[in-house]
Symmetry: C2
Subunit: 206 residues, 2 copies
DNA sequence: TGAATGACAGATTTCAATTTCTGTCATTCA
DNA sequence: TGAATGACAGAAATTGAAATCTGTCATTCA
């Protein structure tokens, strides 16, 4: 029996408020122990009410994960449209992604581990799979736009921008895939990151 | 209680024979259910005898994993010393590593999953960690030698061959790290592989 | 009348009792 | 005499009974 938490101020019950509470509960209890009843209790309502807004616990987890992933994608969007040469934006974008992931992993290891664990199990027809795939498509889409603008500027070259974006993204997996999070605190990781980005940028030179 | 297996012909009990039997037992029962008693039974000896040759079950697992990893490294060694331009050897080596991993994952999923599971948990001071690290060092060492020879030939360029090797190796993680094994049967994976290797080779051009 | 409730059935998780395994070592065997 | 054995203690895994959770829905509430 978890300790009672303060019910949130009793505004109307909205999906957004439920997601807020869900994230808080996940942070507190972790992915295995967080229950729908816990979420309802945090909101001061019965768990039946939660089911009025989300069809299942799985749907709730999908929504809260999507929210979390979208936050990262939105932060990076500003780099895509920045006013700088494409190679510089490409470097900044990759560094930004790495930094965002590292920050999340470092600042709130509980929640990061929680989301990683949620995402990890995307075996069968899990609905999370499509949420994650959409997120990955968002990110490679941003990369594609940077590369395309570089080709227009004449500062980058690639036969197929989307394929190049995918290649760059998977080449840097070590610096953004949560499975490698334990390595992110290694002292030499910055040097490895720089060496890899240098190599990739050389490969994309006109 | 697992079905009795044929005791292997009763030659002298050597570490090599024990490792052979261990691999067989792992293949049959998987990493969770394989016991030292099972290995001893497969050899027709008591489990006490196994402990004469390996100090612990962990040591036995390390040795059998090392054997498995070394087999891959040895196959690739011939590509390193082949008589071909370095860029070609680099491509062949990466393709060889990918093919070897894919073959192992496809031909004997049980055993592959078994070793992946064994390796996966290299959290704390597991002895497996150093076995795996040595393996990774072997592989990046081979890559380093290819790159160095390419620099001597004038067919490749890199400020720091060892750093470049490390960058190439981690850039291709998606095609050799067991955590990505489920993706290896995706139809577009070959195209992704080729696109990435092309990009990396462009980055290493003189 | 539309949102919220809480009792309920079936699914899942937890926990402690029991079984099985690891690693040791005094003894046996050849 | 050196290798092999098997009984044993403590550690780890398994199991199934009990507790908890998910998802539904007839009923209450405002």
């Amino acid at each position: 029996m978890p300790p009672q938490s303060e019910p949130v101020a009793s505004t109307a019950l909205t999906p957004e408020r439920i997601l807020e509470a869900t994230e808080e509960v996940l942070r507190r209890y972790g992915p295995n122990k967080a229950t729908v009843v816990d979420v309802a209790r945090a909101l001061g309502v019965s768990h039946g009410s939660v089911y009025r807004h989300f069809a299942s616990k799985a749907a709730l987890r999908e929504a809260v994960t999507k929210r979390w992933l979208d936050r990262t994608a939105n932060q990076l969007e500003s780099i895509v449209t920045a006013d700088a040469p494409a190679p510089e934006r490409l470097r900044d974008w990759l560094a930004g992604l790495f930094a965002a992931k590292r920050r999340k992993a470092g600042d709130d290891p509980e929640l990061f581990a929680t989301y990683s664990a949620l995402i990890e199990r995307l075996g069968g027809g899990s609905g999370l799979e499509s949420v994650v795939n959409r997120h990955l498509a968002d990110l490679t889409g941003q990369l594609t736009r940077i590369i395309e603008s570089g080709i227009r500027q004449g500062t980058l070259a690639a036969p197929d921008p989307a394929a190049a974006a995918e290649a760059v993204f998977s080449a840097t997996a070590r610096f953004h895939d949560p499975v490698y999070a334990p390595e992110w605190s290694h002292p030499d990781i910055e040097a490895s990151f720089t060496a890899l980005v240098d190599l990739l940028l050389r490969g994309l030179r006109p």
